[in-house]
């Protein structure tokens, strides 16, 4: 048993750190893709896609007319007015951490606190050129340190499961969005037309979920769009896949259900999401339509998040 507010804070700390990491991955891939000579075909659409992946389209276009690299980096990485910018994520995570520091281990707290202390050293000027990658790597490191610290140091009880739920609900959402924004290049019919550009696009989707090298280790037959989709949606050995997230979420909720001796609506939804991925086939996904499937997943995942809040976090 713990304070509902504490559980809520832990859950959101994990979500914000995961969000920052995914944003960093996406920005890195975008930057790489925009360097490719062939990207002239898509006319800077990469940066626009990134804004969409981040879910901050509305806020961005209120402020800017065009998705130039400078605008997008400024808005997604540093803008304090964007509640999901990397800066805002780290600041919010650290503010939440301060409010519940007794529930965090020393390692978790120090990781969030050092990230926050270090943050003011980064700004638009410092990330010009090669600085961008250093910055994005740093963000990724902070998040990995937090997630690793969580697994390595936190007592296995409710507080741990709420933290982990935050990580996986957010990751599941982010993975689905990363794929959804590029779903058209993953369609089977596209494979026929696919040329050099598509290859870069496919690789970039994999890179954004840290799965480029793992994909090759699993399939050993070059990049095939439907295999990429299968890999990211349904392969259990891929730690950022939708099914892995679903399995972790289900597990955390089961543990909470045992600890508290009570199950809620969130348990039912989590089970449903998991079994659909566990027993479904990638062909069915394509039959339904990849975009439709991903949109539905994002929506169900959202509803799951709300149900978790309702059952535990509002008190």
């Amino acid at each position: 048993m713990m304070l509902a507010r504490t559980a809520d804070n832990l859950y959101w700390i994990a979500r914000y750190m995961e969000r920052a990491e995914n944003l960093a991955r996406t920005l890195r891939v975008t930057d790489r893709l925009s360097l490719m000579p062939s990207s002239t075909d898509t006319e800077g659409n990469e940066w626009h896609s990134t804004v969409i992946v981040s879910g901050s389209e509305e806020g961005f276009y209120e402020k800017y007319d065009e998705a130039t690299p400078e605008n997008v980096i400024s808005y997604l990485a540093f803008d304090p007015e964007n509640p999901s910018s990397i800066r805002s994520c780290i600041e919010t995570a650290r503010r939440n951490a301060r409010a519940v520091r007794t529930a965090l281990t020393t390692e978790q707290w120090e990781c969030l606190n050092s990230a926050w202390l270090e943050l003011p050293r980064w700004n638009e000027t410092r990330v010009r050129g090669s600085g961008l990658h250093r910055f994005l790597d740093w963000v990724k490191d902070c998040s990995l340190l937090f997630t690793g610290g969580t697994v390595a140091t936190m007592l296995r009880r409710d507080s741990y499961y709420f933290t982990r739920l935050g990580t996986f609900i957010e990751r599941s959402d982010n993975t689905a969005r990363i794929m959804d924004v590029k779903y058209h290049v993953l369609l089977p019919e596209h494979a026929e037309v696919g040329g050099g550009i598509d290859y870069y696009q496919w690789a970039s989707i994999l890179r954004a979920v840290s799965g480029y090298r793992s994909y090759n280790a699993v399939y050993r037959e070059g990049l095939k769009p439907w295999l990429i989709a299968e890999f990211i949606i349904m392969r259990e050995e891929m730690p950022r896949s939708l099914i892995s997230c679903a399995a972790e979420i289900k597990d955390c909720l089961d543990r909470l259900g045992e600890e508290y001796g009570q199950r809620h609506e969130c348990h039912r939804i989590a089970g449903q999401i998991h079994s659909r991925l566990r027993f479904g086939k990638v062909e069915d996904v394509f039959r339904q339509g990849l975009h439709e499937f991903l949109s539905e997943h994002i929506e169900t995942n959202d509803r799951l998040g709300l149900e978790i809040s309702r059952s535990y976090l509002l008190g």
């Binding site: 503010r95 707290w109 120090e110 709420f162 535990y312 008190g315």
Partner: protein, 472 residues
């Protein structure tokens, strides 16, 4: 009162005092750049752990660290025994006084303290009249501010009976000196302080409300992360293994207090609250408070909840009431006060006010309800204009001010920019009262980092030191 400044180590020209001999030789053999390095490490430690303190209304860094002076202050066993006995005596009397005020008011009937001084005092809470509290204890955690002016001369400067802060610094400072200077630490036989939080927990559970069955559930109530002492609140909750709650985490139903948990409501029995009386319960006190809990006072009165420190405990630490503490000790305990009060002029009295205005440039003048070094004048350090302005304020509302002679606060060796030099210090030990009274051997030593300065408050740039009480 002695005006020569007493240096606790033994300043230049005088002999080094016994307790400081080993420290002095250690200082002589340790190069300054090592000290500088250690000071930097200390600062990193504070920043990393997030031990910060907010200073209100000045802008700038909202999370400032209080300068930590790495050279410990040393108090001998015999000196501490004397101080500690005096503290226990004083806090017993303060508790007896508060209980009396909210009970039979015998001290007022006996004419020892003027009725108006108490009943018209802003810190008096009529809502507490006739309310009985467990063990008759009101100030469960008291911080008594003391200064030293000579080898055997200690004065009490101020009693803090409401929500004294600083104990986390006492504990973290010790942690830090042991880490930074294990060799120096091991040369001394220092009495430990780290059991403070266990004692605090024992104190809190010993004053469970009368309707509590079984092991009481304790929580620490904080105004939230924007409070200047937030770190301390979370530190104490953590060390005691209890929840750190904010107002919205609690609610009252049928005069019972519950906290909102992941498993639904959980009953709370004892709240160590670090929220001021005025903000505790919008139904009883300030209706605009969002820091408190509606109905808390009803639960308290019904015997379903205990609040520490008790509501209304501030009546005992008002600066005007302070002057009567020696008389309280005689009245309630029939004893002579062990610790002296600083002679104080109450401007509410005509003759005193006249004297204070006349001699303002020699005196320290304080607002009766001020704290944290705000709203005070240090006469000898003030400009002519400042003295005149302050005199005008005293004339306008004399009852709001008291004055004391400028004390020659003792100094301790302190590591400052110029090297190791004497700086003025005070001492705040913490006294725990539940079924029993406990004083952990130590306290918070505050040090004025600027040469000659007598203002040790952290809000005014003061620092802290680890305080070593030696064992026999």
């Amino acid at each position: 009162m002695a005006q020569a400044i007493f240096d606790e180590m033994g300043g230049p020209g005088s002999e080094v005092r016994q307790a400081y001999l080993k420290l002095q030789s250690w200082l002589e053999e340790t190069p300054l750049d090592i000290l500088t390095l250690r000071r930097e490490e200390a600062e990193t430690f504070f920043r990393r752990i997030g031990i910060t303190f907010a200073v209100y209304g000045e802008g700038g860094d909202p999370e400032r660290i209080i300068p930590f002076d790495i050279i410990p202050r040393i108090i001998e066993a015999a000196e501490w025994r004397f101080v500690s006995e005096g503290l226990v005596q004083r806090v017993r009397a303060l508790n007896a006084f508060i209980a009396d005020i909210y009970g039979a008011q015998e001290i007022l009937r006996a004419g020892v303290i003027p009725r108006d001084q108490v009943l018209l005092n802003e810190t008096y809470r009529y809502q507490m009249q006739g309310v009985s509290v467990p063990e008759n204890v009101y100030t469960h955690i008291a911080g008594i501010d003391m200064v030293r002016v000579g080898a055997d001369e200690f004065y009490v400067l101020e009693d803090n009976c409401r929500t004294p802060s600083g104990v986390s610094y006492m504990l973290e400072n010790r942690e830090l000196t042991m880490r930074l200077f294990p060799d120096l630490f091991s040369r001394y036989n220092v009495a430990p302080v780290d059991h403070y939080c266990d004692e605090l927990m024992r104190t809190l559970t010993s004053v469970a409300p009368r309707n509590c069955q079984g092991e009481p559930t304790v929580a620490v109530l904080t105004p939230g992360i924007h409070n200047s002492a937030y770190y301390e609140h979370s530190f104490l909750a953590d060390q005691m293994g209890v929840e750190l709650v904010e107002g919205p985490d609690l609610y009252v139903m049928d005069d019972i207090v519950y906290m909102r948990t992941t498993q639904g409501p959980k009953r709370v029995d004892v709240i160590y609250r670090r929220v001021d009386d005025d903000f505790l319960d919008p139904l009883t006190f300030r209706p605009d408070s969002i820091l408190g809990v509606a109905g808390l006072m009803n639960a308290y009165r019904a015997g379903n909840l205990n609040l520490t420190n008790a509501v209304g405990a501030g009546i005992a630490d008002d600066k005007a009431i302070y002057t009567y503490v020696p008389k309280m000790i005689e009245f309630y305990l029939g004893e002579q006060p062990i610790l002296k009060n600083v002679p104080t002029w109450r401007c509410s009295e005509k003759d005193d006010a006249a004297y204070v205005i006349e001699h303002m440039a020699e005196l320290v003048v304080k607002e009766v309800h001020g704290s944290g070094g705000y709203g005070m004048l240090v006469g000898p350090k003030a400009t002519k204009q400042e003295v005149e302005d302050f005199a005008a304020r005293v004339k306008a509302a004399p009852e709001k001010y008291i004055a004391q002679p400028t004390l020659a606060l003792s100094t301790c060796p302190t590591f400052v920019n110029e090297g190791v030099a004497p700086r003025h210090v005070d001492l705040r030990p913490f006294i725990l009262s539940g079924k029993k009274i406990k004083v952990v051997p130590g306290g918070l030593t505050r040090v004025a980092m600027r040469e000659g300065s007598l203002v040790v408050n952290s809000s005014q740039g003061g620092g802290t030191k680890d305080t070593w009480v030696l064992k026999d």
